[in-house]
Structures are given as structure tokens and as C-alpha cells.
Symmetry: C2
DNA sequence: GCAAAATTGGAGTATCAACTCCAGAATCCG
DNA sequence: CGGATTCTGGAGTTGATACTCCAATTTTGC
């Protein structure tokens, strides 16, 4: 298990290739069903290379969680940086719907799938995932609080609770889209929450 | 693979014991991580007994899906039979929150976990699960339509879409509760949707 | 350029999981 | 009861999977 700082450029590339391949396979077929051999083949590496960078499957899973959390939060941050109007929420929804459409509804949420898969079998992974979800939730909460501070959201609304509900809508919507192979449930779930925010706004402003 | 009709009372009991044990283990640790041996031990049966009733693991998984779908819909039906007022929705939320609290947030939704686990690795299971979710959704939709027909819900609301959003809130809430080991996210997600319905009602009735 | 360190290839092992087989015991039905 | 059928126990087989080992090669820092 080499120190991350002391990695050759080539070594870093190999390590990255392994993580990316593992992330894709684990998203598509679940963690337990993804074998080390699958990952080796997909990344084009030999067993010794994989075990050179990771002590075992658990460590690799941990790296995959970090990777997916970073990916997911980057996508969010791109949209949520200015997630402070109803319109920007609409664009955020479009981005997510487009992504699942392109994936043909395979895999669901990169973080949600891992969470469902690992929460009850790997306590360490569960904590790691809970942290990632907390950051995501905070991102949404901040945007809503921003909206509230400028009067676009009712003053008595609770941004924290609304952020939880919104994140739940995204996760539940993604699950239903995955099982139905149809992006509509995700769209409907998020749209309904946006509509809710909209009504919270309008019912106080007038 | 004996005909279900030609099962001795004892045989039926053994078969049931296997399905129940498999369902519990698969909920707690996922399908792939649950070995036939685990199930044998939990049900107190020998390999030959298990393979006497099921051709293989796939068939057992299928039986588990049916079992969990029946269980879940029964719970729903108990509450949703008269899910036609805002108050009854509150009681429904209480029932679900109580269940996850008792389970200490382990496993999440019996159907949702299976869906996330199997949707992308077992097409047959995916279809089976999609059917179960469709029935669940219909149950919710019927209650909302009933409310609408008696004016407790805005006439221009779409019970079909609201049912999808509500089911997504339940699934997403359960996932967040599972990963955080805290029933609150479920409660918040469902409460927010109930609040939404409430506002849809009030904003038109006055 | 050269030694030290990092990286790679591939053959090999130990374990475990799914599934099989068959003989013996219990149960049903007349 | 008694024969046919259903049910049960346990040892054994096959294949796959996570992981190891070590020698050969490339890269790095001076």
C-alpha cells in the first residue's frame, strides 16, 4: 500500500483507471457481484497491480465511495452553486433527468446504490456514505437558505427539512426510475418538490 | 420442484421457513452476500431440503420478492384501505416510522432494497419488482383520487403524479434513514409530501 | 548514468459457495 | 395397515474468487 504522495505519474494513472473501472462495474452490478477479476479486465491490469495499490477489496470499495461522492457533488456543485431560484432548481432537475436518460436508467444514483448495498454489511462504508449525503444535503440547504434570505421562500419554512425532503425525492425518484427503466418517476418526484417550494413562496409573498 | 398444491402440511411449513429466513437475510445483508448456507442455518434445513423446494437461488429470490411484496402491500392496505383523509396519511406515516424504528433502520424498504440490488443484474426480478411497485403506487393513487372526488384535494391536482412523488418520498426517506441510522429523514420526507397535499387542498378550497 | 524505488506480469493457492446424489424416514390416502 | 409419495440428512463435486509470491522491468532523483 504505497503512499499516495509517492506515486509515479504512470502509477497514479493506473490507480485511477482501477477506481474508475471498479466504480462503473459496482454501479452497474452491485458491489458483491463485482469480482476483482472483472475489475482487472475492465481496467486492463494484472492482479499484482491491483493489490499493489489496494490492500484488498474493502479498501477499493472505500476508494470507489470517495470517487463517486466527489463526482456526484461536483455535478451538484455545478448546478447548485447558484441554486437559489426556482428556475435554477428546474435546470438542476433537467441535468439529473438527462443523466439518467443517457444511462438508460441503469445504476440509479452512484451514491444511493452504494448506500443501499453497503449500509447494513459494512459499517465503515456506511459512515463514509452518511458523510457524503450530509455534504450533499448541506449544499441543497444552503441554496434554499439563500432563497429564503432574499424572500423567495417563506420565512417560516425550514430549509434543513426541505433539503432532506428534496434529497429523498431525488433518491426515491432515481430508484423508481431504475426499477421502471423510465426517467419519468425522477422527473415527477423532483418537480413535485419544486412545486411545493413554489407554493411555499407564493402563499406568503402576496 | 414439487407442485405447490401437492405439499404436505409439514412440507409447506418447511418451504415457508426457508422463504422467511431468506427474506430476512437478504434484507439485512443483500442478495449476493446471502449464501445458501446462511439460509439453511437460519431456517434449520439441509441443502437437499432447500433444493427440493427451489431449483436454485434464482427461484428462491423470486419467491422472496413475492413474499416481500405481499408483506409490504398488506401493511399498506391496512392503512391505505381508508387512505382518504389528511389524518389517515398521518397515521400511515406513523406506522412506517414505527416499523423502521423497531428495525433500528436496518434494511430499509424490503422492496426498495431488492430493487436497488437486483434491477441491473436480474431482468426477471426487475420486472417482478416493477409490478409490485406499480400495485403500491396504485394503492396510493386510489386513496388520493378518493380524497379528490370528495373535494379534500384540489380538482386540478394529478393523483397519479402525486402518488409517484409520495412513493419516491417513502423510498428516498427510507434510504436516508438507513444510511444515517435515524428515522427522522423518513419522517421529514413523508411529512413534507403530506404538507404539500395539505396546501394543495387549502389553496383551492377557500 | 546509476542506484534505489516504484511498477508490472503471470503462475499459483486456499477457501468458499452453489449445487448434486442417494438412501432412509416420515407422511398421506385408500 | 400398506404401498406410493413426499420429505429429510449428510457427504461429496465443481467451479469460481479473493488473495499471494517473486522475479522482471520501468521510472525517479541525484
Amino acid at each position: 500500500m504505497p503512499d499516495t504522495r509517492r506515486l509515479t505519474r504512470k502509477g497514479q494513472a493506473t490507480r485511477d483507471r482501477i477506481v474508475v473501472a471498479a466504480a462503473r462495474l459496482m454501479l452497474e452490478q452491485g458491489v458483491a457481484r463485482t469480482t476483482i477479476e472483472d475489475i482487472q479486465a475492465a481496467a486492463g491490469v494484472s492482479p499484482s497491480q491491483l493489490y499493489h495499490y489496494f490492500p484488498g477489496k474493502d479498501a477499493l470499495v472505500s476508494a470507489v465511495i470517495d470517487h463517486q461522492a466527489e463526482q456526484a457533488l461536483d455535478v451538484q456543485q455545478g448546478c447548485l452553486e447558484r441554486l437559489d431560484t426556482i428556475d435554477s432548481l428546474g435546470r438542476w432537475r433537467d441535468v439529473m433527468v438527462n443523466i439518467v436518460t443517457e444511462m438508460q436508467c441503469v445504476g440509479g444514483c452512484p451514491l444511493g446504490s452504494l448506500a443501499s448495498d453497503l449500509s447494513d454489511s459494512d459499517p465503515v462504508a456506511r459512515t463514509q456514505l452518511a458523510g457524503a449525503f450530509a455534504r450533499w444535503q448541506q449544499l441543497i440547504r444552503d441554496g434554499l437558505a439563500e432563497m429564503q434570505s432574499r424572500g423567495e421562500l417563506a420565512a417560516d419554512a425550514d430549509p434543513g427539512e426541505l433539503a432532506v425532503a428534496m434529497l429523498a425525492a431525488v433518491q426515491g425518484g432515481l430508484l423508481l426510475s431504475q426499477v421502471n427503466r423510465d426517467p419519468e418517476p425522477l422527473r415527477i418526484a423532483v418537480d413535485t418538490m419544486i412545486d411545493h417550494l413554489h407554493r411555499l413562496t407564493r402563499s406568503v409573498v402576496p
